[in-house]
Symmetry: D4
Subunit: 148 residues, 8 copies
Amino acid sequence: MELNVYLAGQIHDNWREELRQLADEEQLPLYFFGPMENHSRSDNIGEEILGKQYDAVLKDEAASSFNNLRTEILMQKADVVIALFGEIYKQWNTAMDAGAAAAMGKPLILIRPADLHHPTKELVNKANVVVETKEQAIQALSYVFETD
Amino acid sequence: MELNVYLAGQIHDNWREELRQLADEEQLPLYFFGPMENHSRSDNIGEEILGKQYDAVLKDEAASSFNNLRTEILMQKADVVIALFGEIYKQWNTAMDAGAAAAMGKPLILIRPADLHHPTKELVNKANVVVETKEQAIQALSYVFETD
Amino acid sequence: MELNVYLAGQIHDNWREELRQLADEEQLPLYFFGPMENHSRSDNIGEEILGKQYDAVLKDEAASSFNNLRTEILMQKADVVIALFGEIYKQWNTAMDAGAAAAMGKPLILIRPADLHHPTKELVNKANVVVETKEQAIQALSYVFETD
Amino acid sequence: MELNVYLAGQIHDNWREELRQLADEEQLPLYFFGPMENHSRSDNIGEEILGKQYDAVLKDEAASSFNNLRTEILMQKADVVIALFGEIYKQWNTAMDAGAAAAMGKPLILIRPADLHHPTKELVNKANVVVETKEQAIQALSYVFETD
Amino acid sequence: MELNVYLAGQIHDNWREELRQLADEEQLPLYFFGPMENHSRSDNIGEEILGKQYDAVLKDEAASSFNNLRTEILMQKADVVIALFGEIYKQWNTAMDAGAAAAMGKPLILIRPADLHHPTKELVNKANVVVETKEQAIQALSYVFETD
Amino acid sequence: MELNVYLAGQIHDNWREELRQLADEEQLPLYFFGPMENHSRSDNIGEEILGKQYDAVLKDEAASSFNNLRTEILMQKADVVIALFGEIYKQWNTAMDAGAAAAMGKPLILIRPADLHHPTKELVNKANVVVETKEQAIQALSYVFETD
Amino acid sequence: MELNVYLAGQIHDNWREELRQLADEEQLPLYFFGPMENHSRSDNIGEEILGKQYDAVLKDEAASSFNNLRTEILMQKADVVIALFGEIYKQWNTAMDAGAAAAMGKPLILIRPADLHHPTKELVNKANVVVETKEQAIQALSYVFETD
Amino acid sequence: MELNVYLAGQIHDNWREELRQLADEEQLPLYFFGPMENHSRSDNIGEEILGKQYDAVLKDEAASSFNNLRTEILMQKADVVIALFGEIYKQWNTAMDAGAAAAMGKPLILIRPADLHHPTKELVNKANVVVETKEQAIQALSYVFETD
């Protein structure tokens, strides 16, 4: 059995790569999907494909249509979703993806630092499991495959 | 025909009351639902019902379970969802509710100031319609009932 | 028992009003919904609510977001959908609505002149019943209530 | 990861073959499905299997039953749907398929020339992304697999 | 609380009227729906609305499209379905309706004489409850409302 | 707005009546449904309707078919489910109903004494909210309607 | 692309084997599933696994539980369902399976002799395509894979 | 064709291993999934991943979140669910899983000793097939693959 895992969250550091390495070390049969991790490409993909837009709002609308297409295709392929929240970014799209995952019946693992407990409290309650570190998220997925 | 409207968003000012008044002025057959708007009660409802918890994280977890129960019951009753985003608050639960609404096939109206276009871009793309003011949101709902 | 009926199709003549009158004459407990029938308002609703757009494409995109919001809310309320096709207009949105209705499991009545049989053939096959006149569509709905 | 792509649209030129070649050049793991592209066979398949029908309407009804069977089987297998609209043909079945795809939660890419913006405006609003050329549609799908 | 009950089965005797009377005697808040009970009208409804068809097969196809429209609308309104099987008629449409009801998650009550046990055995296994008489079917529904 | 509440749990004492009284005192617009509360009638309903069965296993199978019909009809009508667990009874059907409610997307309130925490731990985790007393369950439902 | 095909219908002759051979001759990538074709085993499977039952009704109930388990598992795996009706047997379970397939959104091919048109008319109308012979059913499936 | 089988039930003896061996002897293409069978690990997994909790209730809540994540992921992968009930344990989570499986439309095989017929009667009625031994459960699954 293999599991597809969608990784929702910010694209400002390499947390997805760290998760991949942790999973590789454990030789877990996990396939990770996620959004475009090159930030400027993610912001520019609308104009890259459709050409120059009139203003920044329309540039964002164009970009988000391709980003959401990607997310929607990959989320439907996912057996489980990991959403990561951190101190710095607004990450409304991460919260949107987490809400969508829960509503679609996709099991949801939430990673967030403990001191974010107040603004994430409804997300925490919606998730299947909540952890603070990437290592714990991998432990949670490893546990699905373990037999003793 | 009447419509149930769930109002997702922050509970720090009286924007829901303003929407209700605008709808009343237009005599629209709209029933508005939403979260508990008394902020401290919303934060304390867990301990109010279950008693003192060990720490602030658990207090939040207790409160969010009752808040999410309320949201889930009312969102299932809703024919359309309005989600409001503003400058000040994190509002991750609002984004979560918007994502859930879209995934549940509930028509979604987004209200956000234009200069929030970048952090809300995936939400904007997911919503059925996006407006900047409460008046416009009511115009959108009024339009559903108009015949010329 | 009452039935909600969504009327998909062009808004260039008063066919919906004719249907309403036929239903009234039969005293059928039918509630008819449909798109905005004032054509220029339907085209301008985006700029009416959101203000002037950059060009005609964006004006159309703005308008269609409000028109689709209306359609989506009302289609979800509908127990049965009537889609009308005629000689003159392209009515791709009518075909889109008919396809959506079938995919949502909404019973679908198609009205089309017999000589349109070739371009409508996949729609005809998808519909529950196919008729050529408004009178026949009302007969079909009347039959749902008749006991002998 | 591989993606199944259903190609809805007219069968009067070789646009599907062009898409396949573009995908091959990029070595994208895409499997394309679509309707019978031999036009006269698509029109005659009903009589080919069931024998001579009484008239042209019934010939069309017979043919469309096999065409819709094919579409329904393949659309259910699809991870994403591309619908193409052009200047010449009515293509109501394409609009029907696009409406069905959206209602089934299948991500939808729309290809249409910009000057068709008015009659396609509700379709445009329903699609996840809208492009004008086949190259752009392949770029959109390529973007789903790219990592930087 | 009221319940809508769809009555699937043959239309050759007045078993539905008997059920209605039994429910009235018990003053149960049940609303009964069902197919057209006038047999020749049910067979002729296609030609009544669409006009003369080429042959008996097409006449049947026309009639069944209106009969199935009626069934589909009413079955979607139903909270529970009663399907009756008897000795005389083939009633494949009754079995089809029962299979559809089970697949739609509609609770299903089956009425059949005990000596039909062999040909109805898969239907019996699919139904929620199986009884032999109309009185027993009403007892089953009455039990839903009773408190001691 | 009114809410239908299904009360899953043992039928050996009058806990449902206590809940009803608490709701009445608060004048909450709640409609409570539940299983047959007359225990011997619940055990005998199969033989009451179908007549004497061969043995106790078949008597139970007959009874449970009518009990499950009742539960299934009423659970589908419910906006929210309350499941109560206590010290004494096996209550496997209660746990089954709670699991079904969660899988159906029905919001779930669990009432259980704290010292049952170990055997109910997976149920606790599945429920939307968990309380220890009937008063708390009513507080949770009251909170859905409160505005400050 | 491969397709799983569930073959619903009587088990009194080798029509399934004929279909398999026709598909093999065409080298179609079809996997056929169906009920137990050994008739006496199908009737006895309940007592074979559970032991002697009290009477013929209970023997049938036991057998049908294993037959329906098989059908339900395999129908969920199927991409398309073929249901065959013939002159001799009542085949209510076939009609039940056909109704379930349609309600589950499984594309449905119906095979029936033309002179059965009257008792199968609602089934005919529910099916995606209707043919008279096994060869035609294979042609319909072959058409799904053909490109010109 | 291969089938994924989720094994719900107690983890106090090696009944799952016995089932696996029986399936191996028959060379059935079955993949068995289930909960963590190491009992103390199942109880401690919450603290193992999240660290020491305040009390036994919270320790259980932490553990059950990881256990339910595992169950939810694996149940969604399952084609059929086997639930085993025995004399000794409360097994409320087993009953919850069985209720969830039925509500999710997963075919359900129940294993229980005959003398547990009374407390399991609603579960028995909800299951597709009910047997008393592991050998019978394997016979039921073997029957799905047999052709004569």
